[in-house]
């Protein structure tokens, strides 16, 4: 499907993304979503987590 630019306003995230972020103490506001309408999905949270871990170990 055609990807659209994220729309402003409140943070949209999938239920799974929210659960993972809350369990791991990740702030959703820091994540860019790649789902429909900029929705944050599981893979975005996991990618963000990996990034943080990477930049910490560097």
């Amino acid at each position: 499907q055609i990807q659209e630019k994220p729309k402003g306003g409140r943070i949209k995230a999938s239920p799974l993304a929210k659960k993972i972020a809350s369990k791991k103490g990740i702030d959703l506001a820091k994540i860019t979503g790649t789902g429909h309408g900029g929705r944050i999905v599981q893979k975005d949270v996991l990618a963000y987590e990996e990034n943080v871990v990477e930049s910490q170990t560097q």
Binding site: Q1, Q3, L16, K19
Partner: protein
């Protein structure tokens, strides 16, 4: 015509091709569709639609026959010719509809056989007998698949038919042996056994419908057995012999014994052959693997500007997959960015009761080493299923152990093929069982069982002991 328009050629007019053509036209392409035989492809002419039209007759026949239980006393006679007529009328109406839609979208149709001569040119042997040469900016290959006839000794016996033949029978045969217990085999078994034919299914694997959740497939098998269908699994057809009116099929059983089964008709439904032999993949340099065109998730082949969709690319051969890929290929061909994701893809089997599935089966979850939990709810405890006589069914949800995200939904029961959409949307939205539980499910519906199965994941179903 407007010359800035991108020229798009679509090869094949099945649900992959015609949908791609319409979508490409919507996005401003100048589209030509080449179809050698019939618009609508396998799906509308010899696949999805004709099977379901005949199965609907079977369903009404069965319901009318068993009507007494509901207070509907009937005397029932089958007019199979009429059922075939109605099937034909529906098919024609839908094919006509596709033709109309292509016209409205200004898609040019060339009836004929296309093959690449280079990566930007195709040749079309038109059905009128001409040869046309066409260039285009983008090509979308959607040539589909055809029934596969395996090299079983004796398969040329006159009793042997493929799915197309099975859908064209003008009378219900007395007996039918079905070689291959996949979706097509099981649906045609349902069709003819319901209408009074003695059906035997021979399946090599250890359960029918090997791609479906095994626990449910097993229940379905026992329902089929109760209705008089003989099912042999881990069994292999080694020879077929034309014995006059019947064929004799020699089957090697799992215990090494062999058995000879007679059938007035023998349906060969062991799989489908990819239909790319004639299109000149090599001339265009398109990569393929045993005929299957290789694509990425944008439906791009290795050759820039050439896309492929549907049965000719996908091990999962389903009309809705072909159409979804068709839309995506068209979008990418017209400069948008779209990717195909199989994860919301439902598989439906139009048996009675219906059988549907989306996401991971329990077997797949196990295989992939995923930590999962299961929630199950038997339809015996669902009011609407009881009313409809569908109490043998079950709903099963596979969820991730930690976050309870929905990984798979499996349903055997009335209306399962339509109810599965909830599971597909849930998986697509990365929903957990909590969101399914928070959704009010109407009473009395079979769909309530989906919520109960979600509750069962947390051991808190209401309408059964946990």
């Amino acid at each position: 015509m407007n010359n800035d328009k991108k020229k798009i050629v679509v090869i094949g007019g099945g649900p992959g091709g015609y949908v791609a053509a319409i979508r490409a036209a919507q996005l401003g392409g100048e589209v030509t569709l080449i179809e050698k035989k019939y618009l609508g492809g396998t799906c509308l002419n010899v696949g999805c639609i004709p099977t379901k039209a005949l199965l609907h007759t079977a369903e009404i026949y069965e319901e009318a026959k068993n009507g007494a239980e509901y207070g509907v006393i009937t005397d029932v006679k089958l007019d199979f010719g009429k059922a075939q007529e109605r099937k034909k009328a529906i098919t024609e109406q839908l094919v006509g509809g596709v033709e109309g839609l292509l016209a409205v979208n200004k898609v040019k149709i060339i009836p004929g056989l296309a093959s690449f001569v280079s990566k930007d040119t195709i040749q079309v042997k038109t059905t009128k007998g001409d040869v046309e040469t066409l260039k285009a900016d983008k090509f979308i290959i959607a040539t589909g698949s055809v029934p596969l006839m395996p090299p079983i000794p004796g398969i040329e016996a006159k009793q042997c038919i493929d799915s197309t033949g099975a859908l064209e029978l003008q009378e219900v045969p007395k007996s039918m042996v079905i070689v291959g217990g996949g979706v097509i085999g099981v649906e045609i078994a349902t069709l003819y056994s319901t209408l009074g034919c003695k059906v035997t299914i021979i399946e090599m694997q250890d359960e029918i419908l090997p791609m479906m959740d095994k626990e449910l497939a097993k229940i379905l098998r026992s329902i089929l057995a109760k209705k008089g269908v003989d099912v042999y699994t881990e069994a292999k057809v080694v020879a077929i012999k034309d014995d006059g009116t019947e064929a004799k099929i020699t089957v090697e059983m799992k215990d090494q014994t062999s058995k000879i089964i007679g059938g007035e008709k023998v349906l060969i439904s062991v799989g489908r052959k990819i239909n790319t032999d004639a299109i000149g993949l090599d001339a265009a340099g398109i990569k393929s693997e045993r005929g299957r065109v290789i694509t990425n998730d944008k439906m791009e082949t290795n050759i820039q500007g050439i896309y492929a969709v549907g049965d000719c690319t996908e091990p999962i051969m389903l009309a809705h997959v072909a159409s979804a890929q068709g839309e995506i290929a068209a979008e990418n061909a017209l400069g948008h960015e779209s990717t195909f994701d199989i994860k919301t893809n439902p598989s439906c089997v139009y048996t009675n009761p219906e059988f549907a599935s989306v996401g991971l089966t329990e077997e797949q979850a196990k295989e992939q080493g995923i930590d999962y939990v299961v929630g199950k709810f038997p339809l015996m405890a669902n009011g609407k299923a009881l009313i409809m006589g569908g109490e043998e069914g079950i709903v099963k949800i596979i969820a991730g152990k930690e976050y309870k995200e929905i990984l798979g939904v499996h349903m055997l029961g009335p209306r399962a093929t339509d109810l599965i959409t909830e599971g597909a949307l849930a998986i697509g939205l990365e929903a957990t069982i909590d969101e399914v539980i928070a959704t009010i499910h109407a009473h009395p519906t079979v769909g309530e069982a989906v919520r109960e199965a979600a509750l069962a994941v947390d051991k808190r179903a209401i309408h059964m002991p946990n």
